[in-house]
């Protein structure tokens, strides 16, 4: 977990500004300063308890660890395909190339820019990219620092590249893939 605010949404509420009253009422804030910790849905979980640097830092860190959702990476393509088949979800494979700066960029997308509700609709795996990897070769995964899509129900599994050049385009593509996958599943159900 990072401690620079990336794993937590830090929100400054000035009592005199618009919108503050509703939040003060919601959390019963009557004195200042007050620090309220909530889960991602906004339900209060704790108040600031620390009185020294170490305990304050620890409370931030533990709060992020406990309440911020983490990307549910599976450690292999096989596991993702099995999970996809079982839960009827399409599969995303992130081929990581640590030497390529885009890898960190893509990981940040998943952690901080893409709705977890969207992410949870996929079975997703993160695998180390290697040109020599036979499984990756077989799936036509030829580039590192790239995200690929797989339909776990296809008899001949073949990965399709998903462009992740910016978060907005990436989100749109994921939504489109989910839509197409749902259509395909519906057609198959009708036919079968």
């Amino acid at each position: 977990m990072e401690q620079d605010g990336k794993d937590l949404a830090l929100i400054l509420v000035h009592a005199a500004r618009g919108g503050a009253r509703a939040l003060m009422d919601k959390y019963g804030v009557k004195s200042f300063p007050t620090v309220v910790f909530t889960d991602s849905e906004g339900s209060e979980t704790a108040r600031l308890a620390g009185r020294d640097e170490d305990s304050v830092a620890r409370q931030f860190e533990e709060h992020a660890k406990k309440y911020t959702r983490v990307t549910p990476w599976l450690e292999s393509i096989d596991k993702a395909v099995a999970a996809g088949k079982e839960a009827n979800k399409p599969v995303l494979v992130f081929a990581v190339d640590p030497r390529h700066p885009a890898s960190a960029f893509i990981e940040t997308f998943f952690a901080h820019n893409i709705s977890y509700k969207t992410v949870e609709k996929f079975a997703i795996s993160k695998v180390a990219f290697s040109k020599k990897d036979k499984q990756l070769k077989g799936l036509k995964i030829r580039k590192g620092a790239t995200v690929y899509y797989l339909d776990p129900n296809d008899e001949t599994l073949r990965a399709r590249k998903v462009s992740a050049s910016d978060p907005a385009k990436f989100k749109k593509q994921l939504d489109k893939l989910l839509e197409k996958y749902a259509e395909k599943v519906e057609k198959a159900a009708k036919a079968g």
């Binding site: 830090l10 509420v13 007050t34 620090v35 304050v56 911020t68 709705s115």
Partner: protein, 55 residues
């Protein structure tokens, strides 16, 4: 009063310490009270609200 002073000290620490602060030297507090909670909910981030009268 003592409690408030201790809290102020702790919060001043948040805002300046390199341990918690971003590269700019301050914590990246968001002041958009409409969008920030919704964005946090969307990406599944836990939230910390700092209520103040002083800034």
């Amino acid at each position: 009063m003592l409690r408030k002073t201790a809290l102020c000290t702790a919060l001043c620490f948040f805002a300046t310490t390199p341990l918690l602060a971003g590269k700019g030297g301050t914590l990246p507090f968001n002041t958009d009270l409409e969008k920030a909670p919704a964005a946090a909910r969307d990406v599944g981030k836990a939230q910390v609200y700092y209520f103040t009268k002083d800034h």
